[in-house]
Symmetry: C2
Subunit: 98 residues, 2 copies
């Protein structure tokens, strides 16, 4: 089974930004409205929108409209893929430290 390093890199790239990894962390606590997320950062609304698009495109985050608001949450499918990736590396760590 050949490994999909491109997919690995894509997940990493989505989280390779301090703003995005913090948003990801916040969403792990539960669904959040974009305007609520925005309050925690010193960025403009379009910039947040840009980051949310990257997180959603990566498959790690899910967005849904709720009237006027956009509610973002962790996407379980993406999360499982990420977890598999982590388990994979975790396995290697054990191997390396043997």
């Amino acid at each position: 089974m050949s490994k999909n390093y491109g997919e690995y890199a894509m997940f990493m790239k989505a989280l390779a930004d301090e703003t995005r990894v913090k948003i990801f962390d916040m969403l792990c606590e539960g669904e959040l409205c974009a305007c609520k997320i925005l309050e925690d950062f010193k960025i403009t609304q379009p910039t947040l929108s840009y980051h949310m698009k990257i997180l959603c495109d990566s498959g790690l985050v899910n967005g849904r409209r709720d009237g006027v608001w956009m509610k973002y949450s962790i996407n379980e499918n993406g999360l499982n893929s990420l977890k598999n990736l982590f388990d994979n590396i975790g396995h290697k760590i054990v191997k390396c430290n043997k």
Copy 2:
């Protein structure tokens, strides 16, 4: 205990490139010479050197001279930090899926 999102992002950034994540994966199998790594990619030697520097600076990889050769291997300290980061996210996954 406040989280160091900058450190999170730094590790992710080191692996947010298909070439580097593949090198990281190769090194998990054991120490490798730069010239041996180079054989697996369609990049020039200076480009590999550039990537190796990023991996080493991140603390995930260690380099040592062995005569004319540079031998690279996984750095256990960096690996443990990465593993802690993963465990942290893994914990959240469980929390999210509860």
